[in-house]
Symmetry: C2
Subunit: 233 residues, 2 copies
């Protein structure tokens, strides 16, 4: 059984998709409703968790086609076979979603903003999006500047509950903030080396609960501005 996918982006991209097309195809034998549910779930964890500039569009399309040539035992609404299919579909969707962000206008970085310890999963997502869409965070990512104050700011301005003195921040493997303050022995040279790379994670622990979620974002670059200001539509 095989799943293939192709997608076209990008910019005007946040949750709920944007000027984007994604076509997935599989030879699995699968009931239409099981396929629909699988697709919705895969999107929620991939395309609906990326942002380039927080802007959106109305012309997004995601479609999955199944022609049944794999001649497997039909996949119904539950069961191990469907679970495996879902995992595979989610893996393909995540890969394509990350490629869309990497291919974002002017983007040079792919950064996962991962929030844990929020009061709820929804608040974790709100906090992650506030960080991932902050122009000051995104320009700091562009400049490989471990500017933890901007991350704290973006958390604070968002709608999710945050207690500054409980926040911990990790960039790559290095924890730089604990209890809302810079760790005196944080190895900032290691952090900067991570940030000069093309792909890494900013981990944020809020210390308030068990809600966790994450989004993928890109940096805000001069090239983004150039591409979006220097033509007339």
């Amino acid at each position: 059984m095989t799943i293939g996918g192709i997608a076209k982006g990008v910019a005007m991209l946040e949750p709920h998709l944007a000027t984007m097309f994604c076509f997935l195809a599989t030879d699995a034998v699968i009931a239409a409703d099981a396929l629909q549910v699988s697709l919705r779930r895969a999107m929620d964890r991939s395309f609906n968790r990326v942002t380039v500039d927080g802007d959106e569009s109305t012309s997004d399309t995601v479609a999955v086609l199944a022609n049944g040539l794999a001649e497997n035992a039909p996949l119904e609404r539950s069961g191990r076979g469907l679970r495996q299919f879902r995992q595979a579909l989610e893996a393909v969707a995540e890969k394509l979603a990350k490629m869309l962000v990497q291919d974002g206008e002017g983007a040079t970085k792919l950064v996962q903003v991962r929030v844990s310890g929020a009061r709820t999963r929804r608040e974790a997502l709100i906090a992650a999006r506030s960080v991932a869409n902050s122009p000051l965070v995104k320009t700091a990512i562009c400049g490989a500047d471990p500017n933890w104050g901007r991350i704290m700011m973006a958390l604070g301005k968002g709608a999710a509950k945050v207690a500054a003195d409980r926040v911990a921040i990790q960039i790559g493997e290095e924890r730089i903030v604990e209890r809302g303050m810079l760790r005196p022995d944080a190895r900032m040279d290691r952090v900067e080396a991570t940030m000069r790379g093309g792909e890494y994670t900013i981990g944020i622990e809020l210390g308030l609960g068990r809600g966790a979620d994450s989004v993928w974002t890109s940096d805000l670059t001069e090239e983004y501005v150039r591409l979006n200001s220097k033509y007339t539509t």
Copy 2:
């Protein structure tokens, strides 16, 4: 009677103020509570209606000092004298707030986004901020591109109720969108001339109610990205 003011910005600036100081001074004889209420009101209509990048800071200060040397009849909680004082204070605050935006990092334009016809004043403000903070709108402002589709997008992605087929958009003196569509006879050359200037208004009529509000914003430029990515803090 005199009111003077001085302010320092800027960037990390949206509602609720940012890395910003503003000191106002007057020789008026005025009761402390009347002065406080006047200040709060003046801020609400000026500094809390500007945005450079939607980001915020915690180190904002606005203070007003009155030394009473004008020897006027004391201004109390109501009355014509206080109304005049308030108007003057609001005028000074608005002027300073606009100067902050003009002085924003990399900013080359000062644009008022004025929304009317929203269901409520609060929704008008939400809609105005969604437009004023959209990276795609702000880059279009930078490039003097009358990209009404991006304005529609920013309205649509916001939390305020919008009916696309009721939206009208005016840039400067020229109405370019009616019922959600480009007016065939809109004089786009006039619009572009307006947008090449340093200061203008984008007027948006939602056609849903009587709520109205506005914000001042700047453009998103390559210089903004350069200033915010090319240094380490």
